[in-house]
Amino acid sequence: MEFLGNIGLGFSVALSLTNIFYCFLGALLGTLVGVIPGLGVLAAISMLFPLTFHLEPTTALIMLAGIWYGTTYGGSTASILLNLPGTPANAVTCLDGYPMAKQGRGGVALFMTTVASFFGASFGIILLTLFTPVIAEYALRFGSAEYFALMLMGLVAASTISEGSAIKGLAMVVLGIIIGLVGMDTQSATIRFSFGVLGLLEGVSLIALAMGIFGVAEIIMSVRRVKTADIDPETLKLSAIKPTRDDVRRSWFPMLRGASMGSFFGTLPGTGPSIAAFLSYAVEKRISKTPERFGKGAIEGIMAPEAANNAADQTAFIPTLSLGVPGSATMALMLGVLMIHGVAPGPNLISSQPELFWGLIMSFWVGNVILLLLNIPLIGVWVRMLTIPYHILFPSVLMFICIGAYTSGFSTLNIWMVTAFGTLGYLMRIFRFPGAPLLLGFVLGPLMEEHFRRAMVLSRGDFMTFFDRPISATIMALTGLVLIWSIWSSETVRKRRAPPEGEVALARDATDA
């Protein structure tokens, strides 16, 4: 009964006019960002984040979450029509989506991926609703040692699993943590690495960091390289999107398998939607009786990954909301947003802020229904977005970045930080250092230090506390396994073969989700 009450509470929050409006706005902006290749979800969320400063935290989060799952819906459009993934999570959709478009079945592919997206998302939301409170209840037993271990595992997994080079990923995590330590130390009130700048007392701005490293650096690398699309409008008429009976029959099980795999990988730190989509495609191909159809326009090859990445989008919220430990860079950004709005994420969130928690989750239903409505009849509109020339797009994006940075605190210091992090982001591209682990380290670093120092006080300086406590010891052991496995595998892979180009790109981009 209490459960139904919570659902009711959630809907009453999510269905308020303001929240529906911002949910709609988020889904709309997300689709837009997803459709346009070269504009990532991280850059988009950090760019649009200042718009939410003046909103209630719940409303702000509903909108930002809408952007997050909206991009995955929109991202399939560019994959199918241009063979260019709108977001990394949609990369594998290119493999069969683009051949379908070339066969004149682009409309069918767009329609069916929207259905798969909705199915996967619904699956994810149900799991999120059922499991988050259970995990949070259990996590009330966690102490500082457990939290430190969990965060360490998240960072190690995120920086090594999906990365080409484990060392580079780890190095970026460490650099991110160091940047996160700038400002006043909460345990001793010492001001660290601020070099006398009063504005740095509060630390480096998350917004400026994300916009610099993901937004500005991306633009620097894309100028003069992105070409505007050329699309055949015939394939996109409403009459051309009707799937055949064979398409529908073939879609059910791939969708179900994709959604299950996506839900699982969404909750794990370091994996997330890109890996989920990639693996579910591999599974479909493996178990298919006609694997030769794959890569030539097999509908299973778009249904499974699109269900998987959308399910993962939703279940990624489970560790973030129940433990306060984000599994990916985007979730770290969400966590940062929560903290900036003064909400402390953690196992107490559900009981102390039930309106926020249940309202947010129920808004996912609202958002997904909106996306369904937005995507099917309006496919033609989204496709036209693909034809905006880049030379108009990038100065506009830069302007929004600058205004956003300035208005988050009305100080030019934030714009200077965007410049600094834009430069850092550009250097990182040159040296092929990944950006996502840096952001994750930046958000988790100060929390880790806090928990580590507290664990040390509580154990009276005994480092073995991380291995004596059973839960913490288990997590530490898993972390060690991930670390050893990743170093070993990256060594052997490098020695044995150079992976095919597509897979490298996918692996490189995977943590960007």
């Binding site: 966690f142 006043m184 909460t186 009130a189 630390g203 003064g342 402390a344 953690g346 006080v457």
Partner: protein
């Protein structure tokens, strides 16, 4: 020519009183150096409409959390001293300077106290299932095996409340800092720490459903919200009169006439029955004050906590 001169003279002569009479001539920003939805923020948000009503100008609340309230306080210290930027903060204003060297402002020089508006009491809480039921049992147990006390952060009033309790009771307790009252309460729930000086509102639901239990009220009198919980005064610690107060400050250099007007307007708002009815259930005890009285109190407390910090050796 003569009339211009007269007008100029009048203008000069009238400027001072006019400034206070015309105040406020635009929106007033109140800096709250804590996150939204915290104790202080909620109090300020309840208060703001009653000030708007008197001033006929919008009151904007600007949350500037960080550094245990010192970030927002530093920002207020640098604001233009025209009364249009104010600070509403807690007794952290007098406790934090006791342990922080490198403060970017001087609490005595850079901000002028306007009004002390009220306080909340602290209660010492422990896990609902813990073995001790009285404060005495806790003190005795700690002498056999040292215990841990949670605080809402270094230099907060909860931190000093615990340090004063340790100094006066001789309990063997190690202090562990958390980031805010919420995580500190969670640490009590998870048995990670053993005692925490909490406000009634942050213990909230957990106190009602028995997940945490109150051992004592810090102070010499019991409180209405928990009539069965003894005060530390009754238990033989008469000097543990520690409250978290909330006060209004203005940047130093603000016209004294404006300070007096602000003080009067705040006191008027505090008497509004509707306001009293909203904050009393949150365990707020409201009070009237004068700028001079509040300034003396601030000065005395700055000295008192500094002395305690030195005595307890908590200066890093």
């Amino acid at each position: 020519m003569k009339s211009i001169l007269t007008a100029a003279l009048m203008a000069v002569g009238l400027t001072q009183p006019l400034a206070a009479q015309d105040f406020p001539s635009g929106p007033v920003t109140i800096i709250v150096p804590y996150s939204p939805s915290g104790n202080t923020d909620v109090f300020t948000r309840h208060l703001a409409p009653y000030l708007e009503e008197q001033w006929g100008q919008p009151v904007v609340i600007d949350n500037r959390p960080g550094g245990g309230s010192m970030v927002g306080t530093a920002q207020a210290a640098q604001a233009k001293p025209d009364g249009h930027t104010l600070l509403i903060t807690t007794s952290a204003f007098v406790t934090a300077p006791a342990i922080q060297d490198a403060l970017p402002f001087d609490p005595r020089e850079d901000l002028t106290p306007v009004a002390n508006v009220g306080h909340v009491s602290y209660i010492l809480v422990t896990n609902g299932d813990s073995e001790f039921n009285t404060l005495e049992e806790f003190i005795d147990a700690s002498k056999k095996a040292p215990k841990f006390a949670a605080t809402a952060g270094l230099g907060t009033t909860t931190h000093f409340a615990i340090e004063k309790f340790i100094a006066d009771s001789g309990a063997d307790v190690d202090v562990v800092h958390f980031k805010g009252g919420g995580p500190a309460v969670v640490s009590i729930l998870s048995n990670e720490t053993d005692i925490y000086g909490s406000s009634v509102s942050s213990a909230g639901e957990n106190l009602k459903n028995g997940k945490v239990k109150a051992l004592a009220v810090l102070g010499n009198e019991r409180i209405d919200a928990l009539p069965d919980v003894p005060s530390t005064g009754e238990l033989g610690f008469p000097d543990l009169e520690i409250k978290q107060w909330v006060g209004v400050f203005a940047p130093a250099g603000t016209d004294p006439a404006i300070i007096r007007k602000l003080n009067a307007d705040v006191n008027t708002a505090l008497k509004n029955e509707a306001f009293v009815a909203t904050v009393t259930p949150l365990d707020w005890t409201l009070r009237e004050s004068t700028p001079e009285g509040f300034a003396e109190q601030v000065d005395a407390e700055l000295n008192k906590w500094k002395a305690l910090a030195v005595k307890q050796g908590i200066k890093k």
